[in-house]
Amino acid sequence: MATLTPVLQEEAIAELISERVSNVPLLPHVVTRLLGIMGRNDHSLTDVVKIVENDLGLASRILRVANSAAFSPRQGISSLQQGILHLGEKMVAGIAIGSCTANIFNRELIGYESSSGELWDHCLRTAIAAREITASCSRRVSTDLAFTGGLLHDVGKAIIDEFLNKRTQILTAMCDKGEGGDFLDAERDSIGIDHADVGFALARHWNLPPQLAAVIKFHHRPVEADPAQQELVYLVHLGDILAMLGGTGTGADTLSYKIDEGYQRYFQLGKDGLPILLLKIEEEFTRAKSAVFAE
């Protein structure tokens, strides 16, 4: 009997998580279209402008950010095309995702002992880190995709969190035992599912492009991703780690993960380059945070 109880609990949790995922509002059409074209290499700036101009709220937000002190335009920016060009498509995706998912990304994560806003900060810093690594090391992946993947990679935490509540100290103790298991293993051992799998369910619910769904599912286990998507997944995997090293994590699980050295098959990140990269990420993160989310 004692062995059956946890199984039943896990089944009940899986069912409840599935229900929670299906109750999450769908992404606005403008966001799915933006994410869809950013996943393709053949899109142009005009394509992005056409999508954004149909959403008055998003368009005005982009202009507001483009004219903010942190992005210091030489002269006032009044057209959407100029605004998108000035900010870059990555930031446009960030503004679009941030504005329609604030209720998800700004949740307090009780199960991770993480305050409101920390999940978004961590995702934004991961996005910036993944973009910077891509810009300096990878020629095959677009920086837009790496940025967007970084923004979305941990979305599953917002759903799984309620089921980790009151288990936090057990999870950290499992990681700190030094037996090689990380926080993802601890989540799975404790409730039968982990935040990467929950995020993947949400990615399917939102009908995200397959590359972004792969990032969400495999960002802690990039070697398990489809080889066609592995380089992107490794970029976000490293971005996630650099964000945590910088102290921008989501509470109890911060730094309790393993590095997968398989990234070396795709790109090199020299020891000497690491401090320079960390400094650049710190500066860009501070700038983006103050501009986009100061309101």
């Binding site: 936090t168 990681c175 090293l245 050295e261």
Partner: protein, 160 residues
């Protein structure tokens, strides 16, 4: 009287009774705590990287970013605050890392080594430290008592 938050690359010193000097969520960064018990002065430095040679401009603009520029700057601040003689007590916390068997991303360890080397140059050494591991730390120093406290989500709170 209040809480003084010390961000990445910043440093602060206080001798105001009731102040608490604090660093939120140290990852691979290291918090260097200097206490002058005779004058009841507390100094705190939030070091992000070992060596300013990678960006000398930043080392001048925000010396606390690097171990080699931050520690002399913190000692200057303590002097300005009135620490002219007497022993300084040094404590260190942070310098965490990811689970990385090959130590490629060991920036925390590199920070710790650089800080210890520079402290040694000034004839200083830490009497207490809480370093390394695979978790983040929040650090608080109470100016009245000089008590240093560390907390980490899911791991509780403990004195240093």
């Amino acid at each position: 009287m209040g809480i003084i938050y010390v961000g990445v690359g910043e440093l602060a010193a206080s001798r105001s009774p009731g102040d608490v000097v604090k660093i939120l969520a140290l990852g691979s960064c290291v918090g260097v705590i200097m206490l002058a018990p005779q004058q009841k002065i507390v100094g705190l430095l939030h070091v992000a990287l070992p060596d300013s040679s990678i960006n000398a401009k930043r080392g001048i603009e925000k010396p606390g970013t690097f171990a080699d520029t931050g520690i002399p700057q913190l000692l200057n601040e303590l002097k300005k605050m009135g620490h002219l003689r007497g022993k300084l007590t040094v404590k260190l916390a942070g310098g965490a890392s990811i689970m990385d068997p090959n130590n490629t991303f060991n920036i925390g360890k590199r920070n710790i080594l650089a800080i210890k080397k520079i402290l040694w140059k000034f004839g200083l050494g830490a009497i207490a430290e809480d370093l390394g591991g695979n978790y983040c730390r929040t650090l608080s120093v109470d100016v009245d008592s000089g008590l240093v406290t560390i907390s980490s989500p899911g791991r509780g709170t403990w004195p240093l």
